[in-house]
């Protein structure tokens, strides 16, 4: 069983604790959502996993081998990050060519096909690509590299709605075609809620949730209706948040119990992942 593990990873920058004793395991052949607010530590974690920066303590272990002990090439993982590391003067064509040189399983034909679908001009140098197209280039490489684990840090930032949709489609297809594990770190939670099988939530450098999407969503539900009905219903329950509009109220409840059938005119709906995330990561000042 292939796996990528973060073991007791901590990272301090000057006087800030960016990551605090993070322990995670990414198993093979799954789609993970890595969710966290701005500054939660997602990018720091991915930078450590991709060997760009060093943890203050802890280690990354890939298939039971410490990353520091790997000799010439870390070939089981690939990380697509916000920062572009391809040379400014390199053309898209050459980016594909060199990726193929470093990763023999890179599907250059698929990359060319995807470039056409996304209208990414292959003769352009990376420095003349717009931010959106630079992201598309990096995403295409990530989708075609065929390593066992591929990590995406904000893969759809700057992409228009059509391209975002295309990206998710391609991701699903690639996932089904070659059984890699994809880890998507994103703010656009609603968009990935149905795609991911597992969810990891980072908040203030700590992992607060590491479970399946289904388990996470079963943690709660939304109850909406008139204020008094909702209040009566929610007495004694673990309400993690509320939205009030006039006399109508929606309460978000964390509860694992089965819902009663007789709900007295109230509407019960699934708590959606984004709402749950917001509630779980709300800070004092934002209550």
């Amino acid at each position: 069983m292939s796996k990528v593990q973060a073991i007791n990873i901590s990272k301090n920058f000057d006087h800030t604790i960016a990551l605090d004793n993070v322990n995670l395991t990414f198993d093979e052949n799954k789609i993970y959502g890595l969710l966290g607010r701005n500054g939660a530590g997602k990018t720091t974690l991915l930078n450590i996993i991709s060997n760009r920066i060093f943890p203050t303590s802890g280690q990354i272990v890939i298939n039971n081998v410490n990353m520091n002990d790997i000799e010439s090439q870390i070939s089981d993982i690939y990380v697509v990050s916000e920062k572009n590391l391809f040379p400014a003067g390199m053309t898209v064509k050459d980016v594909f060519r060199w990726t193929k040189e470093f990763f023999s399983d890179f599907d250059e034909n698929k990359a060319i096909k995807l470039s056409k679908e996304f209208h990414l001009p292959r003769n352009k140098k990376t420095k003349s690509l717009s931010t959106g197209y630079l992201t598309i280039l990096k995403d295409i490489v990530g989708l075609c590299v065929n390593t066992k684990f591929v990590f995406f840090d904000e893969p759809v930032l700057g992409l228009d709605a059509n391209h975002r949709d295309m990206f998710y489609q391609c991701l699903l297809k690639c996932y089904m075609d070659n059984n890699s594990t994809f880890v998507i770190s994103t703010h656009l939670i609603d968009e990935v809620a149905n795609l991911v099988e597992n969810v990891v939530i980072i908040d203030d450098g700590k992992i607060i949730k590491d479970t399946t999407c289904e388990e996470l969503l079963s943690l709660g539900y939304t109850v909406s209706g008139t204020r008094e009905n909702v209040d009566a219903f929610t007495k004694g329950k673990n309400v993690i948040g509320e939205d009030i509009l006039g006399n109508m109220k929606a309460a978000y409840i964390l509860s694992a119990e089965q819902l009663p059938d007789n709900t007295n005119g109230l509407e019960i709906s699934k708590i959606n992942l984004q709402k749950l995330f917001i509630e779980l990561t709300k800070k004092e000042a934002e209550q």
């Binding site: 799954k30 699903l172 089904m176 149905n194 795609l195 099988e197 289904e214 059938d261 019960i268």
Partner: protein, 123 residues
């Protein structure tokens, strides 16, 4: 097949529901092949594991079966299977709430029966 992302019902159960619906309505016949997990996943942009979970429920209930290397097919007798299952659930899912709602609105049993007659006659 339609999926409602906002419903309280988990997606994998919705998939099972929808497939059952297609079978009982006759859109998919017995022994016919149903779309593969991957096809459904791609079509609705959901994780294949979720789709598989829904389909496995139907496999357990002997409504569909897997032919190795080919795909998933509707079991013979699936229609009957589903019919019996749904008839059992009919009372709790429809009758129960119908009667409670009727009582709230002060509708008498005779009123209800009249309405039922009307609906059947409108077929």
């Amino acid at each position: 097949m339609k999926l409602n992302p906002n419903s309280q019902r988990p997606l994998y159960l919705q998939i099972a529901d929808q497939l059952e619906e297609d079978i009982i309505v006759g859109t998919i016949e017995e022994e016919a092949q149903i779309p593969s997990t991957n096809e459904v996943a791609l079509r609705y942009k959901i994780n294949p594991a979720t789709v598989l979970k829904g389909m496995n429920i139907l496999v357990d209930e002997k409504i569909i079966y897997k032919k190795r290397g080919i795909g998933m097919f509707v079991c013979e007798g699936a229609y009957e299977n589903i019919k019996v299952k749904r008839q059992d659930k009919f009372y709790t899912e429809y009758i129960d709430s119908m009667v409670s709602e009727a009582k709230k609105l002060n509708l008498k049993k005779e009123d209800l029966i009249r309405m039922i007659d009307r609906r059947y006659n409108n077929e």
